[in-house]
Subunit: 474 residues, 2 copies
């Protein structure tokens, strides 16, 4: 394996390219008050939720209000060969928004209109700054919903850019499966469309899926058409405690292998349950726990639930607690939703370094258990949650940012975890993306040939390397 | 709209490039008896199931037995800048296999091994020459199945190359959603891998989906990893007749909008039922008909079936006939499986020109009904079948190949149909691909900007334009 050294991940390499004053003047002339060079605004747009040390912020922030704004900004950036970083709500976890090569940020949050709800076709077209919660609020009256839920109230543009997924992906897929069509501003400032509203197509190269997951490195998405789903007639949620992580994971493996159409199945380890109890006084059993949700007809949901309960019992699962009303479900899911904040609060002043490996489900127990042992041995506090139905899970290593050795321990644990996941046929990132943090892992995972092909595509579509440069590859 | 004239589709343009004798000698030296220049072999590899007039066949056929064979053949072709056309079973419908720029064919049917069944993970890795029926036969003992069924017993490589789908796609998706990972020989003869066996990933550009649907124009797939599904505990099939196509289609729209997880829902128009009756003495009511299949638990299947029966009754659906045993199901599906042959037999000596539009489901009735009226008015015999749950349907215009004016009428009908589908937000091809036949339609559908981006990608990955040149774009 062409493995990187853990040290490669410790700090982003900053190689800022020149941002000519004439370019900034041209932006000011075109965008007026929608072009900000105020330090506080630039700083806010030069960071994300990753634990990277700060780097100098972008030189300007453009608040785009329409596709033409984006096209004009990118065209100017292209003329002056200045980097462009698209910005949603800043919830990225992998350093995607850091201006490591300088340049400007294009804030898309004002492009937040739902453009066309096609309820009959189960599709909706939105501007990229619409957040997933806003979208669900605006389509509420249609009886449909948009299931992809990465936790954060991210924008649809940002979720498309990182190929996001989250808790519902085991049933409804990821952004890969749910984006039907895009409008994109290319690196030269041209506006193109990819895909149609038809549910399938064999019409040429799949440009839609080339942009989904491209992390802003190939263009800026200015419209996104996604699939919607009928709100289930019945929803039922349950939590169940297990004597061990292995017992919980084996239950999940059987659920998936039997084809039970479970909508959500999340793992929380005993350690994280303890943190959540301390944070929210939930009084949960401090054992590994699965949180599950079932969608369907009342009879279908009942049947799924019975099947799963039986499988769980076979593996020592107990203390099943059920919830069918929205209020009860919210209470059960509190544990999952609070895990991140509960963990941060368990060690005041800490930052979380989040891992994102995903493995074939038969390897999930192996991968998880060895990594838990390793993490326990390190002495570093951590939390562990997982979208285990997909084989995806996140350790959060809780480091004191003032103690460099802790960061090194965390990066070393992550390195070992990723190496293990790749050996088991998995990926270094199930849903967060490569960003700055996993550039070397990508080479190990995909191989030099595939990464060179990605570079070739990047070079062909963005010859001046202005679109979010320094992300995905050096 | 940048619409092509119907005349553009009548005959492929042949612009054969030189195939140096030194190249053929080098192939012979490397491949011996696995390199054939026999006319009959070459002719067999220079055509497909499309209705195009024959063009001169490839200059040689390589029977590849392993990935290295493919890599060596492509490397030689790259050195001599000779076109390469990958070949499966030849069931393509859009002229993909015609050697319009000369070159060689690489026959992949000897690469027909199932390499790794990972039943626990619901994945299987196969060589590209494995056919879908062979695959299902070889995995039978696992309790899993591969659902994608384009009708023909196509190879998994060919199905990946055209982004195929078929009757089960409404429930299980298309090749786009079901290919997890690939091994590919690039245009320079390099071997790369894309994707992993993990069910989701955000690791860099989605090279897998760039190759899926690329119609052999970017490289040759030498291994394909696809998703499998648990065989449903219960399967139930039904046919139901309707007073009109519109009534049938409105039923389907409601089924989809309610989220009923129907596994198959196929439309056959009254005209085609008549042909099938004549061919197979089925005695079916000569009215528009839906063929449906439900997968799930016994109770779930029953519930789905009841819901659909109720919706169908609301639209005048009657003469429901149910089948739950494999034998009964086979009998019901005979009508669908025989439609193509029954249609060909209804006019001895005819050829079928098949259309492949796909529209958002709310536009399905509009698109279908106007096109039926138009086709009836033309006087040309036709059949009509559709994967209507996806908004995809096929007219087959039954032309006498000896009467050029009939071909012109058929192309004119197709032109009007595609134009209508594009106006309604659809695509010119749901599952057959662009090939030679829809090159101009692709420009109308995707726009000059998007097609230019596809060309840029092609140029970047295949600078000598040796991979199946002349397909997707001129």
């Amino acid at each position: 394996m062409n493995a990187p050294t853990p040290a490669a991940h410790l700090a982003p390499v900053v190689t800022a390219r020149p941002v000519p004053q004439a370019f900034l003047d041209a932006l000011k002339a075109r965008f007026g008050a929608n072009c900000s060079t105020a330090l506080v605004v630039r700083e806010q747009h030069g960071r994300d939720e990753s634990a990277f040390a700060p780097v100098p912020p972008p030189s300007a922030v453009i608040f785009a209000e329409c596709t033409q704004d984006v096209a004009d900004a990118v065209k100017l950036a292209s003329d002056y060969k200045v980097p462009v970083i698209p910005f949603g709500v800043g919830s990225s976890l992998e350093g995607h928004l850091l201006a490591v090569q300088g340049g400007i940020s294009i804030d898309l949050t004002r492009m937040n209109k739902v453009l066309a709800i096609n309820a009959e076709d189960l599709t909706v077209t939105v501007q990229p700054g619409v957040t997933r919660k806003q979208l669900n609020e605006e389509i509420k009256s249609t009886g449909l919903f948009f299931p992809i839920d990465p936790g954060a109230d991210a924008t649809i543009g940002g979720m498309s850019a990182t190929r996001a997924s989250g808790t519902n992906a085991v049933r409804y897929g990821t952004m890969r499966e749910n984006v039907l069509a895009l409008e994109v501003v290319t690196a030269s400032g041209e506006i193109i469309r990819t895909g149609t509203r038809a549910r399938k197509s064999s019409a040429g190269y799949d440009l839609t899926r080339l942009f989904v997951g491209s992390e802003g490195t190939l263009g800026v998405m200015t419209e996104v058409t996604v699939k919607l789903y009928p709100l289930p007639e019945a929803i039922s949620a349950a939590i169940c405690s297990f004597p061990s992580i292995e017992a919980a994971v084996q239950t999940v493996i059987q659920v998936i292998q039997l084809g039970v159409p479970i909508a959500r199945v999340e793992l929380i380890d005993h350690n994280t349950v303890r943190m959540v109890n301390a944070y929210a006084k939930l009084g949960l059993r401090e054992e590994p726990m699965l949180l599950m949700e079932f969608h369907g007809s009342p009879a279908g949901v009942k049947e799924q639930a019975e099947t799963v309960q039986e499988l769980a019992s076979d593996h020592g699962g107990n203390a099943f607690e059920w919830a069918t009303t929205p209020e009860e479900r919210t209470r059960l899911w509190t544990a999952r939703h609070n895990a991140y904040f509960a963990a941060l609060q368990s060690r005041p002043g800490c930052r979380a370094i989040s891992t994102d490996t995903c493995v074939p489900i038969s390897k999930l127990a192996d991968c998880l258990l060895d990594s838990v042992t390793e993490t326990e041995a390190s002495g570093l506090p951590y939390f562990l949650v997982g979208h285990v139905g997909d084989g995806n899970f996140h350790f959060g290593y809780l480091i004191d940012p003032e103690i460099p050795s802790e960061r090194e321990v965390a990066e070393d644990l992550n390195y070992k975890l990723v190496s293990r996941a790749l050996r088991l046929g998995g990926t270094c990132t199930g849903e967060h993306g490569i960003g700055l943090h996993k550039i070397d892992f990508l080479v190990t995972e995909a191989g030099v040939g595939a990464v060179n092909m990605m570079r070739t595509l990047k070079q062909a579509l963005d010859p001046h390397n202005i679109m979010n440069p320094g992300k995905i590859f050096h």
